[in-house]
């Protein structure tokens, strides 16, 4: 299992890097899905099967489909590859990379001070649901309001006049 964790982690990192380096938006999206699935595997390894499946169903299966749907509607894709290449000037990478590197360095510094080995144990759907509809029922309500707002906003924004 521990090997699975590192393999999935490596796949996630590589795929994610590939996402931001891609010039073809569809390929980028595929890499992102791969990354999400790898993260789902990590969730599973860490003892959160419910989260893992949700990652696959909602994130990879629904949200990314929305992306793809929009890409199809706007007919982006390979035609925009040259344009994409123009937009990705090498100089544009410098400042963000430095910034991200500093941030990452800081995070690593902070995180490396933690020293705890966790033994993953399954926390199944039942436990999560019991909490979700017990103490955190308010969070569920908030989430549903948020989704409703998102629904209304998306409907309104994407509507053709």
């Amino acid at each position: 299992m521990i090997a699975l964790f590192y393999i999935a982690g490596a796949i996630a990192v590589i795929a994610t890097v590939a996402v931001i380096l891609q010039t073809n938006i569809v390929h980028g999206l595929l890499y992102l899905i791969l990354s999400l699935l790898a993260v789902a595997v990590i969730f599973y390894v860490l003892g959160a099967p419910f989260a893992a499946v949700l990652e696959a169903i909602v994130y990879a299966g629904a949200i990314m489909v929305l992306f793809l749907f929009v890409i199809m509607m706007l007919n982006l894709g390979q035609h925009t590859r040259d344009q994409e290449r123009d937009w990705l000037s090498p100089r544009g990478w410098i400042a963000p990379s430095i910034m991200a590197a500093i941030l990452l360095g800081q995070l690593l510094t902070v995180l490396s001070s933690i020293d705890y080995d966790l033994v993953p144990e399954q926390v199944g759907v039942m436990e999560v649901s019991a909490l979700l509809f017990g103490p955190y029922v308010l969070a569920v309500e908030l989430a549903s309001i948020l989704l409703l707002a998102g629904l209304v906003a998306a409907y309104h924004l994407a509507k053709t006049k």
Partner: protein, 318 residues
């Protein structure tokens, strides 16, 4: 973590049986269609056309595996692979018999749903990468259809999950020893049936590939073995949906003891396969917007009400 990984042998065996069944379905479907439509169907190759599938496979394997020059090669190539992978992966959690099955997972039902949702990519990528307007239209339709019906499919089987108290397919089957869920969850069953057909975009819901409207839809540009993968995957999906219905609503392998459990399972699955083929022969294709509004305006409320009533009954009988 109850993860029973079966031996490589049993995995191979199950995969082989599934694929061969799917392949055989090509012939079976044509024969059955012919039977229902009062015509002969393929009857030349082999005994009553039983070797027709071999002939088809030889044809598909030997065709030129051609990628259109205007297509996005990467997406074009992996698209059929995705659908094959996800439908075959779904079988990993199906319990065929008390001791036959790949994984006995606590999240079996969710896993199937996850795979089904990933299956949408195959259709969408296939259409998008083909760079063809019919393909694009087909994949747009497929995307909307599959994402929509995934929702009702998930909600419709939550009634079963609630009655069992588990996402584990094996437990679901075992809890049907006293009675199949088709009785208490009839509405759920109907919705699941419809959503399942839509998910596998079989007729009458084959709108993404409606020949009369948009050529062959998302796989217009596909040929050779890539087309074969789409083609076979559709039949595997048919088997999958039939298996799921069997497991969730018809007691899986459960049956009178005069036959082994796996045979009971196979019989039930075949009945549903036949039913789907009969639907193909009998029901006309709805319009795309009808499909969508039917789903969102009728099936969604109905499935929610079903879930609600189920919950109320469970709580009141506790």
């Amino acid at each position: 973590m109850e993860l029973e990984i079966g031996s490589a042998l049993s995995i191979g065996l199950i995969l082989g049986v599934v694929i061969i069944t799917a392949a055989l379905l090509i012939t079976v479907e044509r024969r059955l269609l012919g039977f229902w439509q009062e015509r002969l169907g393929p009857n030349r190759v082999g005994w009553f056309g039983s070797l027709q599938v071999v002939a088809d496979m030889i044809k598909i394997f030997t065709k030129e595996d051609w990628v259109p020059p205007f297509a996005d090669k990467f997406s074009f190539v992996i698209a059929p692979g995705i659908i094959m992978t996800v439908v075959l992966l779904s079988f990993a959690v199906i319990p065929f018999a008390p001791n036959i099955g790949v994984i006995d997972s606590n999240i079996g039902v969710l896993f199937v749903l996850a795979m089904a949702s990933l299956g949408a990519y195959s259709v969408m990528l296939g259409g998008l990468s083909s760079d063809n307007k019919y393909a694009l239209l087909g994949s747009l339709r497929a995307a909307a259809q599959m994402v929509s019906y995934e929702v009702f499919m998930g909600i419709s089987l939550l009634g079963v999950v609630a009655l069992t108290g588990s996402f584990n397919m094996r437990e679901i089957v075992e809890s049907q020893a006293d009675g199949w869920y088709i009785i208490p969850q009839f509405i759920g069953f109907v919705i699941f049936l419809i959503a399942g057909v839509a998910e596998s975009h079989r007729l009458p819901f084959d709108i993404p590939e409606a020949e009369q409207e948009i050529c062959a839809g998302y796989h217009t540009e596909y040929s050779g073995m890539k087309f074969g993968m789409f083609f076979v995957a559709e039949y595997i999906g048919l088997v999958l949906i039939s298996s799921l219905i069997t497991v969730l609503f018809f007691g899986g392998w459960l049956g009178p003891a005069f036959l082994p459990p796996v045979i009971w399972f196979a019989i039930k699955v075949f009945v549903f396969i036949a039913f789907f083929i009969l639907m193909r022969a009998a029901v006309p294709r709805p319009r795309y917007d009808q499909l969508m509004s039917y789903g969102w305006l009728f099936l969604l409320p109905l499935s929610l009400v079903n879930l609600l009533v189920t919950g109320v009954i469970i709580l009141s009988t506790q």
